[in-house]
Symmetry: C2
Subunit: 195 residues, 2 copies
């Protein structure tokens, strides 16, 4: 194909996570076929995004106002901090409406192979917040990187008077023992709950 505006848009879309070349073309043609208002509002939101959204100075989540709507909410329990990898994980937990404490965004997980060391994460900021905190919930992915980071935080925080827990890992609700991988099954056994 020739290099034109449509191809450039397809190339840009195909750089986004989860969008391959075919999906990118489908999306670009959809936008072209749609009312120009859709392209215009997408363009408007994208060009204003980085000006409008900043990091919350307290927890590190994405927000328009600093501190964010969680940190500035007097109804939230400031004595429990849920430690997450990213602002997106914070959003997902927030949508579950299960948790009423506050968050702390690490900004990544320890991954030596990718050059991410503890110094790259927002850990000293977390320690500075510990004053009135009783409990820390590590809501990190049950992966090698998540496990490494959880272990590191556990060791780093062991001299502070806080209770540390980690989200339960095991078979998902509605899951099937026959289709569960060995590691998950083994973790389900080790983390079995008395009934």
């Amino acid at each position: 194909m020739t290099d034109n505006a449509l191809d450039r848009l397809v190339t840009l879309f195909s750089k986004l996570p989860g969008i391959g070349k075919k999906s990118a073309a489908r999306i670009a043609y959809h936008i072209l076929d749609s009312n120009p208002a859709l392209a215009a509002s997408l363009a408007k939101e994208l060009s204003g995004l980085h000006q409008a959204i900043r990091r919350c100075g307290v927890c590190g989540g994405f927000t328009e106002a600093d501190p964010c709507f969680v940190c500035s909410n007097p109804a939230r329990d400031k004595s429990i901090i849920c430690v997450v990898e990213s602002a997106q994980d914070m959003r997902i937990i927030e949508e579950g409406r299960e948790f009423s404490g506050v968050y702390h965004v690490l900004g990544g997980l320890i991954a030596p192979l990718e050059g991410v060391s503890p110094a790259d994460l927002s850990i000293s900021k977390l320690i500075n917040r510990l004053g009135s905190v009783n409990e820390i919930i590590l809501a990190l992915n049950p992966t090698v990187e998540g496990d490494t980071t959880a272990l590191f935080l556990q060791k780093t925080l062991k001299d502070y008077p806080v209770e540390i827990s980690r989200l339960a890992s095991g078979m998902p609700v509605g899951g099937n023992i026959g289709y569960t991988d060995k590691l998950t099954l083994s973790r389900s056994f080790r983390g079995r709950v008395k009934v």
Copy 2:
């Protein structure tokens, strides 16, 4: 969540085809985490898209220059027209580099239930192009709508001195008889090729 720039972007992305709410959030956070240049170039391409791209006056495909790069290419065989549903299908066939004729974009398929009648398609324009055309290849999806449209075009064009064919339909290359649905298998039988 509160209504902020990030949520508005997630909502817009989730309106695009093939992007659910979770993917939309993932994409929006990715853009926010990336260099602002990505958001800026996406915004730029989106806002200029509808000005830059128009319909080719000959075939109806999307193009920056009119006629498009296929219709204006002297090396293309103008005596064979490949009739497609959409400009996107034209792009996909063009990427296959199999076809060296020209295209005609119908702009849809006949679908009475969705209120799309033959009058909504670019059929009279196709008839006006038939002068020096020997062959018409109907490259329409093997669906009810595609079959209906192919039948309609076959009847409409039967008095013109053109050969009409339709893309072969059957099992995909690498397919498996055991996993092929009955309709496809039946079509493979009816369309069997002598060896």
